[in-house]
């Protein structure tokens, strides 16, 4: 099986056919991954190098933690990925970003309103939880399409706070 694993916009071509072996970008490497029963931990020996990795799978993505570094990995069947890419636009980078409450809390202040242009990492809402004020920031550059809350609201985990849409592109 050929896979493409994407980490931070970087594609790794990984071929898995024989047990105990992977081919990474055409280089054969000895690889042995074992689950630690009852946990989300895996022991990976890669060319005899020992890694204890923590893996969580959410919404089709693998969240991998190694030595305190966090990686988000998207694994796709290489053939499918190729097929998808055939039709034209492969990726969907034009989606709006839905910013939802990462925890239950109290909305202390809303920092933006619909129509505002925002930068990546710009504060959108201040949410109080665990006795601390937390600034919820924009995951992307764009324009605020809508704001779902106002100061004084109590929100639950996952409630939509703000939707940021991409800056309309100039005609090609």
């Amino acid at each position: 099986m050929k896979y493409v694993a994407t980490v931070n916009h970087k594609d790794f071509g990984i071929d898995i056919d024989r047990p105990g072996e992977v081919v990474l970008d055409d280089v054969v490497r000895a690889a042995d991954l074992r689950a630690i029963a009852g946990t989300q931990l895996y022991s990976l020996l890669l060319d005899n190098r020992s890694h204890e990795v923590f893996v969580e799978r959410r919404e089709g993505l693998y969240y991998v933690m190694i030595s305190g570094e966090q990686f988000t990995v998207d694994v796709e069947d290489a053939r499918l990925k190729q097929l998808k890419a055939m039709g034209g636009l492969a990726h969907e980078e034009h989606d709006s970003a839905v910013v939802s409450a990462p925890m239950p809390g109290l909305v202390v202040k809303v920092l933006v309103e619909a129509g505002d242009a925002v930068a990546e990492d710009q504060g959108l809402v201040i949410l109080e939880a665990m006795k601390m004020e937390n600034e919820i920031r924009s995951p992307r550059m764009g324009v605020v399409r809508s704001v779902g809350v106002s100061a004084g609201n109590t929100v639950n985990l996952g409630d939509v706070l703000v939707v940021v849409e991409p800056v309309p592109e100039a005609a090609p």
Binding site: A5, I14, Q40, L41, E56, E59, Y62, G68, N134
Partner: protein, 498 residues
């Protein structure tokens, strides 16, 4: 001596105090809110009593309920831990009025140090240096008028504040009115008191605190300093002992000032005097914490003195057996506070069920923790999950040991600040010991860059797992299929699907 001690607290500090009591042969009484029924402090205590719903204001802050439980259980002393009621003079008084021993300082000392303005005045009178600033609560107009005399940058600070609450930085006159308003609002909400004052912000300063210990017979001594400059939002993140900036001469002077501070308010029990130390080694009184500190273990490791046992002995009116000349500082200790926060996502609080914990052990490692497999981390209390403390003969030994211990630590189910600490231990500023109170927020960034030697490893791990899952699906799901099978499969592979 005491016989049975009620611990008016929860979390790691309640467990810490229970351990000290049991090691002294004392029985313990735990109290718990509805969400804490199976918490570690409940399971480790001799007895346990419910005190109400999850919000602290209806449970851990209810002095009446705590005293009632003490009476019913036959406890003869109450240890307040830190936070909650630990620095409320009225609580200490109510405990004494009920005929019980408050395991902490006298109410008058708590009161004297609890008010920023009053404590500042007391320190000036006692000859302890303080940061330039205004001396009393001010109206906004007054504050705006005198601010230039204090000098910018300055801090607007709440008189009743603590832990960074009600404290705001102002860089110039323009921002002052809005900041005053915000600080007052936060202070009013947090403490029911919007009195504020202004204080010069000593930039590039270190936050160094001195541990003091005093009995009820007039003996006061200090146990040296803790370096607490690594802070985020005025919350300490990493502490070490001794401070890389300390000299024996400065320690002696700061120790003497701390002892004078404690004497000035008639202190007994253990307590901490916090100072700012500027680049030239000048130090200024900040405040006194009239309770046990979160970071007390690093002093215990370096001095060999068990501070909680000392508190219990002092409360039982025993004289100190130690004198100042008995206190020695051997080796080096570091503490990392492990919080339920996501360092890769703006330190947002993380909640959920702890599914698995592996704590580091072995030589020179101490973990003070209250988490366990099956613990539910919610939003009602502070995010501190555990404290990882290491000691070693030298600072270099301690740093290497801390790295080793952090690498071993696994907490699954919630995001934690473990990766933050791993990064901090690798920075040149920490290794060189040259950081100041601004470092963590102004300069340090948890790198989003991917270590090039590890991204390929992550890719391979994920691909292998995907391949295993796929293989399992093909092999096992052909007959049955359906989502429940997926779950079963995930369980078998140790993978938790959403």
């Amino acid at each position: 001596m005491l016989k049975k001690v009620l611990i008016a607290n929860r979390g790691e500090i309640a467990v810490r105090i229970i351990r000290a009591c049991h090691e002294l042969g004392l029985d313990t009484v735990a109290v718990y809110s509805d969400v804490d029924r199976t918490a570690l402090h409940v399971r480790r205590a001799t007895e346990a009593y419910p005190i109400g719903p999850a919000p602290a204001s209806e449970s851990y802050l209810r002095a009446d309920k705590l005293i009632d439980v003490a009476r019913r259980s036959g406890a003869d002393g109450i240890h307040p831990g830190y936070g909650f009621l630990s620095e409320r003079a009225e609580f200490a008084e109510a405990v004494a009025d009920a005929g019980l021993t408050f395991i902490g300082p006298p109410p008058a000392a708590i009161r004297a140090m609890g008010d920023k303005v009053r404590s500042r005045q007391a320190m000036i009178a006692a000859g302890v240096p303080v940061v330039p600033g205004t001396e009393v609560g001010l109206t906004d107009d007054e504050a705006i008028r005198v601010a230039p005399d204090v000098g910018f940058p300055l801090l607007v600070k709440a008189s009743a504040g603590g832990g960074g609450k009600g404290m705001r930085r102002v860089d110039g006159p323009a921002a002052l009115p809005a900041t005053l308003e915000a600080a007052r609002r936060e202070a009013q909400k947090a403490f029911g008191d919007d009195t504020v004052y202004l204080e010069r912000l000593v930039e590039g300063a270190r936050h160094i605190e001195i541990q003091v210990m005093a009995d009820q017979h007039g003996n006061v001594l200090h146990l040296g300093e803790r370096e607490c400059s690594l802070q985020r939002r005025h919350q300490k993140v990493v502490e070490e002992c001794p401070s890389p900036a300390m000299t024996p001469e400065l320690r002696e002077r700061m120790g003497a000032a701390a002892v004078a501070a404690a004497r000035a308010v008639g202190y007994h029990s253990v307590g901490t005097v916090e100072f700012l130390v500027d680049r030239d080694g000048r130090f200024y009184f900040l405040e006194m914490n009239t309770r046990l500190q979160v970071e007390h273990p690093i002093t215990e490791i370096v001095t060999g003195v068990d501070l909680v046992k000392q508190m219990l002995r002092i409360a039982a009116n025993r004289p100190l057996r130690l004198r100042q000349e008995d206190i020695e500082w051997n080796g080096h200790a570091i503490e990392c506070r492990i919080n339920a926060e996501d360092p890769y996502n703006h330190f947002l609080p993380s909640t959920g069920l702890i599914t698995h914990v592996i704590e580091p052990t072995g030589p020179g490692v101490r973990v003070d923790s209250a988490i366990y497999e099956g613990a539910e981390i919610g939003l009602f209390y502070d995010p501190l999950l555990a404290k990882l403390i290491v000691g070693g003969p030298t600072r270099a030994d301690a740093i290497l040991r801390m790295r080793r211990a952090l690498e071993e630590y696994r907490i699954m189910g919630v995001k934690t600040t473990l990766p933050l600490h791993q990064k901090i231990m690798d920075t040149t500023q920490f290794i060189a010991g040259t950081y100041d109170t601004g470092y963590l927020e102004d300069t340090f960034r948890i790198q989003h860059e991917i270590r090039t030697d590890l991204d390929g490893v992550a890719a391979i791990a994920a691909a292998l797992l995907a391949h295993q899952l796929r293989g399992e699906v093909i092999n096992r799901l052909a007959p049955a299929g359906g989502p429940s099978e997926w779950k079963q499969l995930g369980r078998r592979l140790g993978l938790r699907l959403p």
